[in-house]
């Protein structure tokens, strides 16, 4: 019970499957409050699927995800909806509602769950857009701005309800290196200022080493997690060749790391 209290999110014995096809089995991880937790692994190994399990879009085949000790998938629907409101999710392409302007995208969520007046909602939307560097784009439609801007606007929307936990699905996919680095800086700043917990799906090594506090490495070959912990520590101490290869872009094969004594 104490261990549950200490960790904000705990993934316990999670098995993910599409029908009878098992994607990953026996995933276990503990995420502390205020941590940036990375879900990493090669393409197609089920990183995004794990994220979908954590945000209530896909039901686990086995196991569960505990938020502050409460099993997420055993909650009543109402309670789970309530829980979802403390999450912010940034989808891969931003997934902004295309029939609404950026301000409306953010305002919709606020209007649904808060008692702010229309003018206040607009001010908050402006503020959230300003946080991600999109001040002045309130009345643009998602189709009128670039992919990188969509992603940042998606982040602004994810921040709308001042979430406890933020989930990012491949934040740097499709961004140039500079924008990608800026996004990493933004994530770090947000963590420091909001104190929120972050769960980030990514395979960008630069990103991983910059922002990660904790991580889980999923391996598509064995269909389970291979390692967990801080990726920088993993790089130094992990004896697992798959982990080393991933974290060094395959160069570890040439310079094997000696197992820790």
């Amino acid at each position: 019970m104490n261990a549950e209290r200490a960790s904000k999110i705990e993934i316990r014995d999670l098995t993910m499957a599409y029908g009878s096809f098992v994607v990953m089995r026996d995933i276990n991880a503990q995420i502390k409050r205020g941590e940036i937790f990375i879900i990493m692994g090669g393409s197609g190994c089920g990183k995004s699927t794990l994220l979908r399990h954590m945000i209530g879009l896909k039901q686990p085949a086995k196991g569960d995800i505990f938020y502050e000790g409460t099993p997420f998938w055993q909650m009543e629907d109402e309670a789970r909806q309530e829980k979802l409101r403390s999450f912010g999710v940034l989808f891969q392409g931003g997934a902004l509602w295309s029939s609404m302007t950026l301000a409306e995208n953010i305002g919709l969520v606020l209007g649904e769950y808060t008692d702010f007046s229309t003018a206040e909602i607009r001010d908050i939307a402006r503020l959230k857009l300003a946080l991600v560097g999109l001040k002045g784009f309130e009345d643009y439609y998602p189709a009128e701005i670039s992919g990188g801007m969509c992603k940042r606007a998606g982040l602004a929307r994810a921040l709308a309800l001042d979430p406890d936990v933020l989930f990012f699905d491949e934040p740097s996919a499709g961004l140039d290196p500079i924008s990608s680095r800026n996004l990493d800086q933004l994530i770090l700043q947000l963590r420091d200022s909001l104190g929120a917990t972050f769960v980030v799906v990514t395979h960008e090594l630069a990103s991983i080493f910059t922002i990660a506090d904790n991580s889980v490495f999923l391996d598509p070959n064995t269909r389970t997690m291979r390692a967990s912990g801080n990726p920088r520590e993993m790089l130094k101490h992990s004896a697992d060749p798959a982990v080393q290869q991933f974290l060094t872009r395959g160069e570890a094969a040439a310079h094997p790391v000696a197992p820790p004594s």
Binding site: G56, R85, F91, A95, W97, E112
Partner: protein, 379 residues
């Protein structure tokens, strides 16, 4: 490496002790006359071959066609457990071959042409129909629940969305609804008049047009037009939102996509369809009026009197009610197919097609059921 005069490509094989030497020469550019690997096969068929090497000093220009042949030879060697020596090949060629063989073929990734047995296919399609029907029923159930929620004022529902959909499916559809129903009125009057004239009863053309449009044709034609126009639009819209993960974004904010997206569309159609049906009735009757007065020499006054006399209140209300009911069908099939959409462009197309097909089928089928019920109840 400029070869002004291309020399014909050659591929020959000769035996040298326990090895086979394959000589490739010339320019491998004239696609019509490239040699195949049968010469090599013939040499290998002799047996006792341990190794295979190449001789390529006269090789001119080459492209993938040569590479394919060398890979074929390499396959032959692999099959006969013969050592393949590529060292004598030009550098680029040898590198490409090494590259193409660097990762072994993933044998279990290749798509197998699965040919399920007849029984399996019957079973699968049966199960598919069953789950499809169950999905439809649960969608229907959810729609009833969300309407109740709306009535209690608890639904996540924006009136603005409903008005926007009303605008798109109501006033903007007037043109096509008017045109089609006008033509239907004309056709009914023509067909009716020619048949009725044989009994000297041309005047009853007015009754025929009025009763047929008000009870049946007005709402059916409007339903079919809106199914093709608005139902398809709903499916495409929601399908695209699904592809863009916009629907999932609603879910992760705890906003019910059903209440937020389906409910306004359904309410808009429930409200607009009766109005469109009344409009359709008027237009169709005016079409019949035009044919009758201009071409059949029926006095306008008499036509109008007959029309008013033949329409019963029950028949009129039945038509209006059916209109609203078809509106529900259109909204539900359109939204259901949109929500069931897969995650690529092709599935948006499928969703749209399936929305229109399901919608029209349901409209016609349930109209038949209505006709039976009404005749039993003498309405």
């Amino acid at each position: 490496m400029s070869h002004p005069e291309p020399t014909p490509a050659r591929l020959t094989a000769r035996r040298k002790a326990d090895a086979v030497v394959v000589e490739i020469a010339g320019d491998w550019l004239d696609r019509a006359r490239l040699p195949d690997v049968s010469a090599v096969e013939k040499e290998l068929a002799g047996g006792g071959v341990k190794a295979l090497e190449f001789e390529a000093k006269d090789l001119g220009r080459w492209d993938s066609a040569l590479l394919v042949r060398i890979l074929a030879i390499s396959d032959l060697c692999a099959r006969g457990e013969i050592t393949l020596r590529t060292t004598t090949l030009p550098g680029g060629l040898a590198k490409l071959i090494t590259l193409s063989q660097a990762v072994p073929e993933t044998t279990d990734a290749a798509r197998k042409e699965a040919a399920p047995s007849f029984l399996q296919r019957v079973g699968e399609s049966g199960l598919e129909t069953w789950t499809g029907g169950a999905a439809m029923l649960s969608f229907l159930g959810e729609s009833v629940l969300s309407v109740l929620k709306l009535a209690r004022g608890q639904a996540q529902f924006r009136w603005r969305d409903m008005f926007e959909v009303m605008q798109a499916c109501g006033p903007q559809a007037l043109g096509i609804v008017g045109l089609i129903n006008f033509l239907i009125g004309l056709i009914l009057a023509f067909v009716g008049a020619t048949e009725l004239a044989r009994f000297g009863a041309s005047i009853f053309t007015a009754d025929l047009v009025a009763v047929a449009t008000v009870r049946e044709m007005g709402c059916i034609m409007t339903g079919i037009i809106l199914c093709g126009r608005t139902g398809a639009a709903f499916a495409a819209q929601l399908g695209t939102m699904k592809v863009n993960q916009e629907i999932e974004a609603f879910q992760t904010f705890g906003i019910s996509p059903f209440e937020f997206l389906v409910l306004p569309r359904m309410m808009a159609l429930i409200l607009m369809m009766p109005l469109l049906c009344i409009f359709a009735d008027l237009i169709a009757i005016s079409g019949g009026f035009m044919v009758s007065t201009l071409m059949l020499d029926i006095a306008p006054q008499i036509y109008l009197t007959r029309t008013v006399e033949s329409i019963s209140l029950a028949g009129f209300l039945l038509g209006i009610f059916k209109g609203s009911y078809f509106g529900v069908i259109i909204a539900l099939t359109g939204c259901l197919r949109g929500m069931q959409c897969g995650s690529n462009a092709a599935s948006v197309g499928l969703a749209t097609t399936s929305a229109v097909v399901t919608g029209i089928t349901w409209i016609i089928a349930s109209d038949g059921i209505f006709a039976v019920i009404c005749s039993a109840l003498n309405i």
